[in-house]
Symmetry: D2
Subunit: 305 residues, 4 copies
């Protein structure tokens, strides 16, 4: 496995040249475009690392499944899905069209920005500080890294350039999906997106989901199996922006990407995978990361289909 991983990283690194680092958040634009790294952890507690696995990156949209899990734990399925739907969408991640055309209206799913902002607004806490701490705490627990924290430069950069998300949030408050102070909710959302991790942290989070919410080492359940299945379902149907269908066909692993170039994968009952590759394809997914996962899935028959 280790040798294969090394080979696959080197084979696919060339793809980084065919994409571009995200630039709509200026701070993200500073990442090295030719990086590619991967960490795999399996249920047997083995861990494999290859390529630029030590490069740090922020969670960005990879934080959405985890925030969804916390919102479900806090509010239950019924309340969460009163505010956000369960259906994939053929529209881009920041689209607002369906908010206007559907009646009654709510975001189609928790993986597009509108849905993710609605989900984050449901996280409980008596203050905005406590709310964020509760998010950070869950991230630390399932990544097995008690030192996770925000990358302040990215956070401030997101806050400064977040007009499209502001537009979405005010629309959501107008139609009764969002309650409370919009800037406060967005601040929480920008913070959640700015949590800094490595591939190993991501792989551990993926492992936690793959292992049905049970901590591998202690055997303790952190979240009910059913809720982790919900999260993985969204990762298959809408985890890779509007390339989710193609990824499901070519890789077949519940996964969530972020514009920082990360991909978090959960192979049910088998393994967690963390990938970094900041050079993105036009859909916003790590261009080399996706190719690397295609090879890995084929090699080890990881497709759930």
């Amino acid at each position: 496995m280790q040798l294969l991983l090394n080979n696959l990283v080197e084979k696919n690194r060339q793809w980084t040249k065919h994409g571009k680092v995200a630039n709509y958040i200026p701070e993200l634009g500073k990442m090295d475009s030719d990086r590619l790294g991967i960490v795999v952890v399996d249920t047997g507690r083995k861990i494999y690392r290859a390529g630029d696995y030590q490069t740090k990156l922020t969670m960005q949209s990879m934080s959405k499944p985890i925030a969804l899990l916390l919102a479900l734990l806090d509010n239950g399925e019924e309340k969460v899905f009163r505010k956000v739907g369960k259906e994939p969408t053929g529209d881009p991640f920041n689209s607002m069209i369906k908010l206007e055309t559907l009646n009654p209206s709510k975001p189609l799913n928790p993986m597009i920005n509108a849905g993710a902002i609605a989900v984050t607004s449901l996280i409980k806490g008596i203050s905005k500080e406590e709310k964020f701490f509760r998010i950070l705490d869950l991230f630390r627990k399932i990544s097995k890294n008690p030192n996770l924290d925000i990358n302040m430069d990215v956070y401030l950069s997101e806050k400064k350039t977040g007009d499209r998300n502001r537009s979405i949030a005010y629309f959501l408050r107008d139609i009764g999906i969002l309650e409370g102070d919009v800037e406060e909710i967005l601040d929480l959302y920008f913070k959640q997106c700015s949590i800094e991790v490595t591939c190993e942290d991501i792989a551990n989070m993926g492992m936690f989901l793959a292992n049905q919410g049970i901590d591998r080492e202690s055997g303790k359940s952190i979240a009910p199996m059913h809720l982790t299945q919900i999260v993985k379902t969204f990762m298959i149907t809408c985890g890779m922006y509007d390339a989710s269908g193609e990824f499901a066909i070519n890789v077949g692993i519940p996964s969530k990407s972020g514009v920082s170039g990360g991909i978090m994968c959960a192979v049910p009952n088998k393994m967690g995978i963390g990938v970094i590759g900041p050079s993105l394809d036009i859909k916003g997914n790590s261009i080399a990361g996706v190719k690397l996962l295609e090879d890995l899935s084929e090699e080890f028959k990881l497709s759930i289909f």
Copy 2:
């Protein structure tokens, strides 16, 4: 298993009262709304039958995954996916909006009508008769029922009331996705939808997909594993109209429904399931059939997530 199936059918039959039989194709409107039946076949060649499993129904949209498989066998992935996309869509099955707004334009996936018509147009044959015979032949082979044939009344009823599909087909020809005679292509499509089956036929087709394209009895491969995985992926991401996401969460089995009230399920490497229940919910899926599958999936942990 047998006892449980009997119980689940009786428990869920009440749901038939909350839906309606499809009426946009007049002939379909004649089905009994209170029917509910199921057949399960597993890899160990065991077969279980419960409820109104002997009621006949037409394939309708359940034919789409099978026609896709044949088109893939005939043309290869590259050619098929040049004409039709791989992404789920939040729009209804007969929507044409994305055909107009996307550029370059093609149907989003092979499970919506636009995509399915494009797929059917790719099936090979030197005459329209041969094309249909090749479709029917594949249906007969994987259902293990050499007597499958068209229900003429349904076929003629579809042909007569198919204006929305005509509108879709002429649009597709206008944008260069469809070639040839539109009425001839639609005739083939209406025939494919009108093939009459029972739950057992459907369960066998599901089994064939679950078993990765290999005939259980002979051990012979009818279609490559990768192509059957493609088909199952579409069944998860867009097999249940615009309730696919919710179904993936609540049931978690690659499935395809039809407006005749049928559902074809493929639990990878485990079982094939055929359900009938003509009373439909507002999304067009068998209302009691979906409930029955939710119970079954939970009872036997059939979710792929």
Copy 3:
């Protein structure tokens, strides 16, 4: 006036180089792109001709206001506007999106293709021959040209390449806006679009509308004033495809363009104008013709605003 017209034509002929002759109907693509001509008739029965005013062209979308008038005469306002709306639309002339998103659904106005096809289907006659003859007869009467007839090459070319219009028509029949045989209705529509005219014919038709439905010479009323006002209103709000708003600002005259490069104008109570200039801008309007009308309107203060 005559001198000015000559000057304006020569001044604006250069614009023909910046556009393109329509090519989606092959036969239209054969027109000379550098032509520009105009005829003006006023209420004092004076007539002015300049440039390539003798060049023949087909009515195309310029036929829509006249067909609307006939449908209104045949059916009355209430019945016509039950099938087609009165609102301008920011969408292209062949768009079908609003047909799908509006509920209850009907074409937004009689100037887009969907609305025009619905309007043509309402024209009365005991046979398709009589229906077309009644259209042709009205065209002949208001153009004061008893020799008007179809250009067969254009008609056959339209018929052959009319898939988008077929798609629209079947959609309309599916939602109950259109009744009867679709190909027969489209045939009538293609014929109406293929009536061949000169600028003088167009100017006379514009004069008829400008003169509130009264024949200038005989003083006889061919259509009620109110109906001709309806027609002119549509020409202002949606007569120039999705450049209608800009044209209303820059020219301010109720006008209808066609992809053959013609423009028919009705200056209420003042004059009728016919323009030809086959080189089109990207919205589908005669590029030099629009410029010529801007100059003419400014020179003679023809804006209705």
Copy 4:
């Protein structure tokens, strides 16, 4: 004329029962639903008043044409129409769909909220106070009422409930149409909408536009004829929300309505009209006011067509 106006008001007052007072801005909901009043001023300086003409109301969307005029005076046509289009739209006044689907994107016209906010952002002034004062000053000048001012309760109510407008404004800043502080721009917009007037004020503003920008009494030009024609063109093509087409047919007068139940009309070269009738139809126009104008237009042949 006076007698006729009295009769028409009484005849049409019954229509107030078939509509509803706007309630999305709470303060507007307090208006009496059965009011109906009108003031007509003509070029001969005659003035006619009937019904509840003394009832006060706020400008709301009636402020849009006047703010557009000021922005055109401040920036010129080219700069203004780089930020906002000239085309009517079949979508509701607060729709954002086209902002997302058009490329490059800008609001379709200055009468929908997105366009009006963009226009207001272009009004010049060294401070927000000066900007508002310049707007108020123009309103006072053309209404001939130096006492016009804001209704503070309505202003605060708009500010509090303006989430949809906030959503629009942040979207506009995201796509580069809006520059500067969003809340400051919206504050200016809410103030402009909250200017309180009577029918007579509105009629005078309409007269100013009808009279091509020339003050009737002094004969002095306040705005160039061409700019007032631009404004009136928008009033015909998109002044009555998504009922503009129907109103153009039935009334044929450049007009702008507001959700406060007001309608400002400019009959070119003839008269200005101000109407109040807070009970609205489903499109957001004064239900009795529109009926009253239909009668008035027919009686005096006021249609521009």
